[in-house]
Symmetry: C2
Subunit: 169 residues, 2 copies
């Protein structure tokens, strides 16, 4: 990489309030947490910044996964597999910059607060950004998805089978 | 929002090398830049962290949009519209934490370098994270997408009509 790397400083815009206080029992991905509601509490200053978001059925939450542990490992064994993969070939929360990308369903926008469904985030997780989900921008015809092709189906099965009482893998 | 807000410090993992040096002429979204190739140059240290990513056809790049201008406006008129919307109801690059979410096609992984297609990012943009694109996690049946429902089609038309010689809106 050419040039020096400058640290980047971000200030959270809000915080997630969810029923999950420990990683144990927290769903693996938002698809496996379809029914679970949570609240995104933004700084009240940002209420006008949400105008129009209520017209979207879904949005992306970008969060700082403050309790994810990484430890500098470049290859990790993700929850969904028993083999190691490069950390950037996984969605593991522990990674060099632990930014979470959560696709959630918008239930309601009330002032500077969002009620959302499908959250796989711990209570107290700082929120960095919200982006509306726009199918022409966010959906592609993926022709391959690596080691997750055989594993992702298991997330869905777990959802259907036990309503998220335990980790999917 | 309850509690104090602590700044978060992140260290870029790499940089984008793209043909775009000014915002003028840069496509609005990756869907409008389907054919344009760029290079993601990670710190060479991270080469092992890419192992397995070559099995995915697409990935998300999370970047720091270092040249985006925001100026504290909570409502903005995005390029794709002529009405103001809350900044969190838009994909405008200028926002409180200017984190870019770009869905790109993976062309090749070579050491710590990715060749990708469909990039709407300026040359030199710092890269924060890479995540494999996994349809069961990243695709939902969106039932509404607000003001962008009528506008997103125009991005596609612009792509088809003039191969991105100008801004879509």
């Amino acid at each position: 990489m050419v040039g020096s790397v400058q640290p980047i400083s971000l200030l959270p815009i809000g915080v997630v309030r969810s029923p999950f206080t420990t990683q144990q029992g927290t769903p693996l991905q938002t698809v496996a947490a379809f029914d679970i509601e949570a609240v995104v509490e933004l700084d009240p200053h940002y209420a006008p910044a949400l105008r129009g978001l209520e017209g979207f059925s879904h949005c992306h939450l970008l969060t700082f996964l403050d309790r994810a542990e990484w430890g500098g490992r470049l290859e990790v064994v993700p929850f969904l597999d028993d083999e190691a993969h490069g950390v950037f070939a996984t969605r593991a929360p522990g990674r060099p910059n632990p930014i979470g990308l959560s696709l959630v369903r918008l239930v309601a926008v009330e002032g500077a607060t969002l009620r959302v469904a499908g959250v796989d985030l711990l209570d107290g997780t700082p929120v960095l950004d919200l982006k509306p989900y726009v199918p022409p921008f966010d959906q592609v015809e993926a022709t391959s998805w690596g080691w997750l092709e055989r594993r992702a189906a298991e997330v869905h099965r777990t959802r259907a089978d036990d309503r998220f009482g335990k980790r999917a893998g």
